[in-house]
């Protein structure tokens, strides 16, 4: 045949995918398990952005994408979207969280106490080069406290509300099936509280940090303080068709309350799957900033929620690799025509306007 075989493109894309996968090599259960075991915080980040709590699937997604986070999130999201929703869990209350870490920067001590829990905050960031030379790093054993910390902790905001320091918004009970779900409905503005917190929960960690940091630095009028930061395991409680409530397991969650001292005390809130402190602090700051009067454009609700959506943002960014030669040709035609039409346009301009035309052309060039 004299014309191009139309399957050329198909073969090319198939081979390029093979090339990528060949570099990653065989993926077996051992590799997936090793990822899950050695990188819990990476799994947490991916599960949060995917809004799918499934450590094993998250590890598989990371194995399949070779650690490309946006690819891993898309893999999980595309899987999640096809899954039926079998049940809606009972609401999780702060006082029911199995809290492993809970700190407040607003008070020296708080009811229930400051619990540091696991953190690298005060570690010295030194590479253990010796590991590369064969000397394994064996973590030192944790010494038990004299008294174990209580498994659950009260909410600091409850104390502040009781003191009349922050407004106590009465929440109306919503039947579980009527809780809005941003993965099943379009996000419209002004966004409902549920859609906003859900969008922040699945937002891109890096994007949330960039915008959150901008409000913290001064592009916004909030002066954030961490009111309460928690890492916890939340019990997932589901109602059996017969009516009894049972536990279907636990999920790791993080949540942050950021308090502003600008005009009275106001709270910003964020929670997400997995332990990801940077994200919830940044997201809670954005929540707080976006509810202020005339927020800075970078903390405007629509701006924040659209631009921190990891799958949409990364997808659109890489889509510019696709051919655009039709649109380019269309613009090229218009640009060329301006040149060829120029003499004709000049003739059409009355003498009195000639100076103005020259000025316009100068501005254009």
């Amino acid at each position: 045949m004299a014309y191009v075989a139309t399957r050329g493109g198909e073969r090319a894309i198939e081979q390029s995918e093979r090339l990528y996968r060949e570099d990653l090599g065989r993926i077996d259960k051992t590799r997936v398990d090793a990822i899950a075991k050695s990188m819990p915080y990476l799994l947490d980040r991916v599960m949060g952005e995917a809004s799918l709590y499934a450590p094993e699937l998250a590890a598989l997604a990371l194995a399949q994408s070779g650690g490309d986070l946006y690819e891993a999130v898309l893999l999980l999201r595309a899987y999640r979207t096809t899954q039926p929703r079998l049940a809606i869990a009972e609401p999780v209350r702060q006082k029911d969280l199995f809290t492993v870490r809970r700190i407040s920067a607003a008070f020296k001590d708080i009811p229930g106490g400051q619990i540091l829990g696991p953190t690298l905050d005060y570690s010295h960031r030194l590479l253990n080069i010796d590991v590369l030379n064969g000397a394994d790093f064996v973590p030192e054993p944790v010494e038990q406290a004299a008294e174990p910390a209580p498994a659950t902790q009260p909410s600091l905001a409850d104390w502040q509300k009781a003191q009349g320091l922050i407004a106590d918004f009465q929440s109306e009970p919503v039947p579980l099936e009527e809780i809005p779900d941003v993965t099943r409905e379009p996000l419209l503005f002004p966004a409902s509280r549920a859609h906003k917190l859900q969008s922040l929960a699945r937002a891109d960690t890096g994007g949330t940090l960039a915008l959150g940091y901008s409000t913290m630095r001064g592009y916004g009028n909030v002066h954030p303080t961490v009111n309460e930061l928690r890492l916890a395991e939340a019990p997932v409680r589901i109602r059996h068709p017969r009516g009894t409530i049972f536990s279907a397991g636990r999920v790791r969650i993080s949540q942050a309350e950021i308090i502003s001292k600008a005009k009275g005390l106001q709270l910003g809130f964020s929670a997400t799957f997995g332990w990801n402190e940077v994200k919830v602090i940044a997201a809670a700051s954005l929540d707080l900033a976006s509810t202020q009067e005339k927020p800075h454009p970078a903390s405007n609700e629509e701006f924040v929620l659209y631009h921190t959506e990891p799958v949409e943002a990364s997808g659109f960014c890489i889509h510019f690799k696709l051919p655009h030669y039709v649109t380019f040709q269309s613009s090229l035609d218009a640009i060329r025509k301006v040149k060829t039409d120029k003499p004709a346009n000049k003739a059409a301009v009355p003498q009195a306007d000639a100076a103005r035309q020259a000025e316009l052309e100068k501005a254009m060039s």
Binding site: A2, Y3, V4, A5, T6, R7, G8, G9, E10, A12, I13, L74, L75, R77, A78, R80, T81, T82, Q83, P84, T183, R184, E185, P186, L187, L188, F189, P190, E302, Y306, V311, E312, S314, G315, F316, C317, I318, H319, L322, P323, H324, Y325, V326, T327, Q329, S330, S331, L332, D333, A334, I335, R336, K337, V338, D341, K342, N345, L360, A363, M364
Partner: protein
């Protein structure tokens, strides 16, 4: 009655990938979009296994419309063998038993990025256009909620003004592709980034066109036999790309939208952008029995 009689065997994915609740939502949104031509209907827009911005909106529509007996054609920039068109076709093959075709005349559903085929579409065909940005007002109002209000008020003054400014500054309207167009005399829509050459094909077209933006979660439609009028001033005619007298160096066809191919000697040669239409010309020249459909343009001029 036993449980296994009431259920289906477990399968990793539904027919056509999307689950039934997603398809039902899509159908409802599509019906609404058809009922209000050119109006952008928000939809949930599920993630699909290709990246956002790569045709996820068009893909969700195609997946919803697909039946086992459907015949589908997928093009990107007019070409069936473009890498992303190949990828989408491959995915459709994976999740449905629909047939594929390269021939515009044989397709029930045509999913396209940036082009409308040169051969006239019929009443029994559906054109699905991939849309990167569904909002024609974006250049004058980036805030989507504000833009929604402007559509509600049919407040298109700022859009007219930008066109007028282009006219004053450059002596012509500089909008290349995505030419804003009034649908059914009410809503201004983007026809998606198709060249100006293709916009008149939508006017009073026999086929249904569904335009879907997956990333932006908006769907709009042009039902059959609906007015689609590019925004133009009474005294400044609408101008399509100057391709009327260009000849395809491969097929010899003349008077269709072309790809410009820069040559080593500084000149350009041209090939027909609707790749399969070009292929059909070559096939006919070589004596094969092919049917060339009626085209919107004849000798570079629009048929009316």
């Amino acid at each position: 009655m036993k449980l296994d009689q009431l259920t289906k065997p477990w399968a990793a994915f539904s027919y056509g990938f999307l689950d039934e609740s997603a398809k039902r939502e899509m159908r409802r949104r599509i019906l609404k979009a058809i009922a209000i031509p050119g109006y952008q209907v928000p939809y949930a827009s599920r993630e699909v296994p290709i990246a956002r911005g790569w045709g996820t909106g068009g893909l969700q529509v195609t997946l919803t419309l697909l039946k086992p007996a459907s015949v589908v054609k997928v093009i990107d920039q007019g070409a069936d063998d473009s890498v992303n068109a190949s990828s989408i076709r491959k995915f459709l093959r994976r999740v449905s038993s629909a047939k594929e075709t390269l021939d515009t005349l044989k397709a029930d559903i045509i999913q396209s990025r940036h082009r409308i085929p040169e051969e006239k579409l019929r009443e029994d065909q559906i054109l699905v256009l991939q849309v990167p940005n569904p909002e024609p007002l974006r250049p004058v109002q980036p805030d989507m909620s504000e833009a929604r209000v402007m559509h509600g008020d049919a407040d298109y003054g700022q859009l007219w003004l930008t066109l007028y400014e282009q006219l004053v500054r450059s002596g012509r309207i500089m909008q290349g592709s995505s030419y804003p167009s009034m649908v059914n005399g009410r809503h201004v829509m983007t026809p998606s980034p198709i060249p100006r050459w293709d916009v008149p094909k939508m006017h009073m077209a026999a086929n249904l066109t569904i335009l879907s933006a997956g990333r932006e979660k908006r769907i709009h439609a042009v039902p059959p036999y609906t007015r689609v009028e590019p925004l133009v001033f009474d005294d400044v005619p609408y101008r399509v790309e100057d391709h009327a007298d260009k000849t395809c160096y491969r097929s010899g066809a003349m008077g269709f939208f072309m790809n410009e191919l820069p040559q080593d000697d500084g000149s350009s040669s041209f090939e027909i952008s609707d790749s399969q239409y070009g292929v059909k010309h070559i096939q006919r020249r070589e004596g094969e029995a092919v049917t060339l459909g009626e085209t919107y343009y004849r000798e570079g001029r629009l048929e009316r």
